[in-house]
């Protein structure tokens, strides 16, 4: 296997501290280093172009802990491995080199107890508040029952959002809960007047412990479980899972299965982007868009149902291929639907780019620079709207994507309107991919038999989910159950960046800017405001926020407190 020159350079410069390096698969390189040179090594790799951090994985090997930094450059992934002992699990934070690593470090700290010195988030990120010190659920000494016991015994509640000292500034924590994504999000805003000064993310409100659960199930059961990580990108998660397992098994799947998977992935992307368009329309108060796009989305869901037998969870990907074939009589129907979808996507793009009620809420809103998107490691359509050329389908092709011609949609709008254009154009590209894949689908088998046991190897799979780069990490145990599984969803990667986008925005623009990353919305159903100068705390629903925005646009009120005086909206603590 070819080792890139950067790794040899690393060895040359850092000498004995680089313990070993090698490559198991193409585009997957690992470097094992001593913990004293983590920062030097990451610094060197970043200067060589490995600026994007895909995720940080924690491992409990039984002899100690291991931290894996997955750094990416144009599709090739370097895994920097660091061993740390149980009794002194300390590492320097790399957030000053790669700011986008902040949440990944927090996740490993919470779940494995590795303290990253210098990480700006000292509080728990994934775990709830009130969680006992020193209990790190993903360490192997703790079984699932122990975690359940802790939750009952310690009355662990939902994470609390703390208030910082400040003068006259308003803090707005946005309280989150959403069933569709593994990482529901809490965002705390520091606001001066109407403008957002600073945003801090707090996730973990609905952490379901899927990674721990997967360690106790068979590979087949896990396949069904991964599908339920997210309801909207359910193909994406199983796709990534089967890629990881097949890569660990060194299993080649039939050509036809690879094309069927591409069709499913792209249909999934189309309906996900249509759903997003509706949500975006809803967030700017343009519900007609919601009605139309969601109606058109039903046609896509109908063909997905006809292929797989269900509207939402398709259960189509299995280890070794796909479960069902796409029969020839369905092909015409799919192609017809694609024609319809293309027409509609063009129509929406045309209508909405001219419609003042949409453009005035999106153009120039949520501005950030390309450099921010790169350093904060944004992924997917969000990054591509900010002129970042990053698409796993092109950079690190999986399944049949390497053989299918399509364009990577990149625009340089650098605002919320850009994310709309990227998604609308991607619907067109996806429809083209579906059509090409159906026309060029090879004949033959669509499934091979896969063993039930996976050897003791590691595999990292990456795909382009509708929301961006999705990373799954697998470590097999040699048996029917896996040793460790790690999922990094695209929304987690985009949170540091959306925080940046929100800075300088209006309070009224929070819903649409936050929706721009397609975070599986509903997270914003409850907001809490604190006005320290008056000692008031109140809670507003999204309806209150909308009403407030409307009144403010009319000019009848100018401050949140006036809204409360007139309508008494949600004032609960004085």
């Amino acid at each position: 296997m070819d080792i890139p020159i950067e790794v040899d350079l690393l060895k040359e410069k850092l000498g004995d501290k680089v313990i070993e390096y090698g490559s198991i698969k193409p585009k997957r390189i690992y470097v094992k280093i001593d913990k004293s040179i983590v920062k030097d090594a990451v610094n060197m790799l970043v200067s060589q172009g490995y600026t994007h951090i895909s995720t940080i994985t924690g491992l409990d090997t039984g002899r100690g802990l291991e931290v894996l930094y997955h750094l990416d450059r144009m599709g090739s992934l370097i895994t920097v491995r660091v061993d740390i002992p149980y009794d002194n699990p300390k590492l320097p934070s790399i957030t000053d080199i790669i700011p986008g690593a902040v949440l990944y470090e927090g996740e490993v700290r919470d779940l494995f107890g590795v303290s990253f010195e210098g990480n700006p988030y000292p509080k728990p990120i994934v775990l709830p508040d009130g969680w006992p010190e020193g209990f790190h659920p993903l360490r192997k000494v703790y079984k699932v029952d122990d975690v359940k016991k802790i939750i009952i015994e310690h009355e662990v509640g939902a994470p609390q959002i703390e208030v910082e000292e400040g003068r006259g500034a308003v803090y707005i924590p946005i309280g989150p809960q959403h069933p569709a994504l593994k990482e529901p999000i809490g965002l705390r805003f520091v606001v001066e007047g109407e403008y957002i000064v600073k945003v801090k993310a707090r996730i973990g409100y609905n952490h379901r412990g899927i990674e721990k659960a997967m360690e106790n199930q068979t590979y087949i059961q896990n396949l069904i479980l991964t599908e339920r990580i997210c309801g909207i990108c359910s193909v994406a998660h199983t796709q990534c899972y089967v890629l990881a397992v097949e890569s660990a098994l060194d299993l080649d799947i039939p050509e036809r299965a690879r094309y069927i998977r591409v069709v499913m992935n792209e249909l999934n992307r189309i309906h996900s982007h249509m759903l997003w368009m509706g949500v975006a329309g809803h967030e700017v108060g343009f519900d007609t868009v919601l009605m139309y796009t969601w109606r058109d989305r039903e046609y896509v869901l109908d063909i997905l149902e006809a292929i797989s037998g269900n509207r939402v969870t398709y259960s189509i990907n299995v280890i070794g291929g796909v479960r069902r074939d796409i029969p020839d009589d369905l092909k015409d129907r799919i192609i017809k639907t694609m024609d319809y979808v293309e027409g509609r996507a063009k129509l929406y793009m045309d209508l909405l780019s001219r419609d003042p009620s949409f453009t005035r809420r999106t153009v120039g809103v949520g501005k950030a620079s390309t450099v921010d998107a790169l350093t904060l490691c944004a992924v997917g359509p969000t990054a591509r709207a900010f002129k970042v050329r990053k698409d796993i389908r092109k950079d690190d092709p999986y399944e049949a994507y390497g053989e299918i011609p399509f364009e990577m949609v990149v625009v340089d709008n650098c605002d919320v309107a850009g994310t709309f254009i990227v998604r609308a154009k991607e619907i067109l590209e996806s429809a083209g991919i579906v059509r090409y894949a159906l026309e060029h689908m090879p004949s033959g088998d669509y499934r091979v038999k896969a063993p039930r046991r996976v050897p003791q190897v590691e595999a990292i799979a990456r795909i382009e989910a509708p929301r961006g780069e999705l990373v799954h990490y697998l470590k097999g145990s040699g048996g029917e159950q896996l040793e460790r599984y790690k999922v990094r969803t695209p929304t987690l990667a985009n949170i540091p960046f959306v925080a940046k986008m929100l800075e300088g925005c209006n309070v009224a623009d929070i819903p649409i800017v936050f929706a721009a990353i397609d975070p599986c919305m509903a997270c914003e159903d409850r907001m809490e405001f604190i006005d320290e100068s008056k000692g008031l705390v109140w809670t507003w629903s999204l309806e209150d926020l909308r009403a407030y925005r409307k009144l403010r646009e009319k000019g009848s009120i100018s401050k949140p407190i006036e809204y409360i005086d007139r309508f008494g909206g949600g004032l609960n603590v004085v």
Binding site: I220, I224, L225, G309, S315
Partner: protein, 118 residues
């Protein structure tokens, strides 16, 4: 402004949604509904119960005399049992209406057919 022709078009159309429960959608071929055992084929290997991700299939007894209890309220309708079955004894029906306030109504039992003596 630009939405007006679109809106006019829809003013004369019937609603896109179905008037459930008066109108029912036809399920497509291959719909993944409740599972059904063909007990004459079943060999009692137990793969269905072992692979079920939610533990909805309860196997009573072993081998050729085994019987099954399907706890439908736990079922995720993934179809893995039908996929795992080596003798194709499990099929997926197109029944999907199972809302109930009584859990016991959602337990389906599949017993061995009584063998006729000739």
């Amino acid at each position: 402004m630009s939405f007006e022709p679109e809106l006019l078009k829809h003013a004369f159309k019937k609603p896109f949604t179905l008037l459930y429960p008066f109108e029912r959608r036809e399920t497509p071929k291959g719909f993944r509904g409740r599972i059904e055992y063909d007990m004459t084929r079943c060999t009692g290997c137990g793969l269905c119960a072992r692979d079920c991700p939610s533990g909805a299939i309860e196997m009573i007894g072993r081998g050729r005399t085994a019987e099954f209890k399907v706890h439908l309220y736990m079922c995720t309708f993934c179809g893995q049992c039908a996929d795992s079955c080596p003798v194709n004894a499990i099929s997926l029906t197109n029944e999907y209406e199972y809302a109930s306030t009584d859990k016991s109504k959602l337990i389906f039992e599949f017993k061995r057919p009584v063998e006729k003596k000739t």
